[in-house]
C-alpha cells in the first residue's frame, strides 16, 4: 500500500465498559493497514468479542477514539453508519442468523438491505453456498442446520457483499479441522483480493499455520505481535 495512506482501522486510547461495570479493555491503541490480516487472541472473557464489536460499530467506545475507514466514531452521526457497515462483513460468534428465513435468504440479506436485486445476485448467492458446501441445504431454515453448517451460512452472509473489512468472531469454532482450514483459505483468498481481515480465534494451531500478525488481549490491554514463520502452505 502507498505510504501515508490512512489506516482502515485506528484505535487510540480506547476504553470500553458495559453499563456501570469495570473497563473490559483500557488504553488500547493500534492501527490496521488496508489489506492486512490479523488474528485476535486471548483467553475466554479477555475481550475479543468486545474489540470486534467496536470494529463493526455495534458499540461506541466509552472513551478514546475508534476510527473506521477514516471516520471517527465519536463524531459520526447515526445516519452515516449504514454505508460504513455495508463495507464491513461480520461473522458473529453466535452467528445471529434469522430463523424465519432460509439459509439462502440469510446469505442474500446484505444484498437486499443494500438495495441490489436481480438475477446476478441470486447466482452469486448460489455460487457462494456451493463454495461453503451447503448447496443442498439452501432452502432450509438455520435451526434445522448443524452448528458447523450455521457457521458456514454466517460466513457466506459476511462475504456476499465483497466487504473491504471482514471481521470474524470464532469463525471456525464449530467445524472440524479440515473445514476450518478450508474456511481460512477462503479468507486468505479474500485477503489477496484486497479485503482487510480480522479473525478472533482460540485455535492456536491454525494461527501458527498461517503466521499472520496477532492482536493479543491480556489484562484489558492489546499487544500487537508481528507475524511469525509459517506462511500459507
Amino acid at each position: 500500500m502507498a505510504p501515508g495512506e490512512p489506516p482502515i482501522l485506528r484505535f487510540e486510547n480506547v476504553g470500553m465498559r458495559y453499563g456501570m461495570g469495570p473497563e473490559v479493555i483500557s488504553d488500547v491503541s493500534f492501527e490496521l493497514k488496508r489489506g492486512s490480516f490479523h488474528f485476535v487472541m486471548g483467553e475466554s472473557g479477555a475481550g475479543k468479542s468486545t474489540l470486534l464489536k467496536l470494529m463493526y460499530l455495534a458499540h461506541r467506545p466509552t472513551r478514546g477514539i475508534v476510527s473506521v475507514f477514516g471516520h471517527d466514531m465519536s463524531r459520526t452521526p447515526r445516519r452515516a453508519l449504514p454505508p460504513l457497515r455495508r463495507r464491513i462483513g461480520v461473522v458473529f460468534q453466535d452467528f445471529r442468523l434469522l430463523d424465519h428465513l432460509s439459509a439462502m435468504e440469510n446469505v442474500a440479506l446484505p444484498l437486499r438491505v443494500a438495495g441490489s436485486k436481480g438475477e446476478q445476485s441470486r447466482s452469486h448467492v448460489t455460487e457462494l453456498m456451493n463454495w461453503v458446501g451447503l448447496a443442498e441445504r439452501m432452502k432450509q431454515p438455520p435451526h434445522t442446520l448443524s452448528g458447523g453448517e450455521q457457521q458456514r451460512v454466517a460466513i457466506a452472509r459476511a462475504v456476499i457483499n465483497r466487504p473491504s473489512l471482514l471481521l470474524a468472531d470464532e469463525p471456525t469454532g464449530n467445524v472440524d479441522d479440515r473445514m476450518a482450514l478450508r474456511l481460512l483459505y477462503l479468507f486468505e483468498e479474500l485477503n489477496k483480493l484486497g479485503t482487510t481481515i480480522v479473525i478472533a480465534t482460540h485455535n492456536e494451531g491454525l494461527v501458527a499455520r498461517f503466521g499472520h500478525p496477532r492482536l493479543v488481549i491480556r489484562g484489558g490491554t492489546v499487544d500487537v505481535v508481528p507475524g511469525g514463520a509459517g506462511g500459507t502452505g
Binding site: Y56, R60, R86
Partner: protein, 294 residues
Amino acid sequence: MRMDVPLADDHASRFLPWLVALLVYLAGLALAATLALQGAVEKWNRELVGTLTVQVGGPGGETLKAGELDQQTAHVAEILGRTPGIASARVLGPEEIAALLAPWLGEGANLKELPLPRLIDVALAPDARIDAQQLTKELSAVASGVNVADHRLWLANLTRLARSIEAISLGVIVFIGFVGVTGVVFVARTGLALHRDTIEVLHLIGARDGYIARQFERHAMMLCLKGGVPAIALAAATVAALDRAGRALGPTRLPARSLQWRQWLALLAVPLVATAIAMITARVAVLRSLARAP
C-alpha cells in the same frame, strides 16, 4: 413476499385487524349517515327554496262549507298573483293533496270524508323578500284560517340541525381515527421490542432505519386491509339494508336512495384512507423509536 422482520407471527398483529374492522365499520356508518343527511338537506333546499305554501281553511276556518272555502281560496290565489315578488300561485288539486298526505295517512285513504284545508303553491321571484306575517295579515282580510308557511325558516332550522349532526359525526370519526392510530403505535412498539435482535442484525449488516420502518409499514398495510375491506363491505351492506327498509315504509320526504354513487365511492375509500393513516403512523412510530437508539 417474506419479510426480514417476522412481524406476522406477533400476538399483537392478530388483534389489529379486528380493531381496524370495528373502527372502519363504525367510521363507515358515521360517514354514510353524514352523507345521507347532506343529500336530504340538499334535496329539500332544491325543492323548497323559492316557494311558499299558503293554507286556507286551516285552524280558525274549520267551520267553512266546501263552496265558501273554494271561493275564498280562489280569491286568495288571485291576490297572491298580484303581489309583487310572487312569480305564480297555483291551487293544489285533491290528488296532489292526497299525494302530500300519503306519507302520514297511507295511500288510498278516503280524503273526501276529511275536512281538509286548501293549499296554494306559491313560487317566488328570484331574490324576492316576502314577509310571511304581513302577507298572512293581508290575506286574512278575505279568507279565514289563513296560514303562510315560509319553508325558508323551517329549512334554516333543519340545516342547522343537520350541521350539528355532521359535526358530531366528524368528532366520532376523528375519535375513531385516534383509537386506530393508538392501536397501530402499540403494535409497532411491541414489534420493535419483540424483534430487537433481528433489527439489530439488520442494522449491523447495513440496513437504514427507513428499510426497517418499511417492513412495519407493509405489515400495517396488510393488517389494515385484512380488517378494513370486509368491514366496509359489511358497512355498505348495512346502509343498503337500511335503505331498503326505508323504502318499504312507502313514500317519504327522504331521497329515494340515501347515497349517490359518488358517496358510495367515498364510503369505499374509508379502508384505504385508514390504511394510509396506519402506514404513516407505523413508519413515524418506528423511525422515532429507532432514532432514540444510540
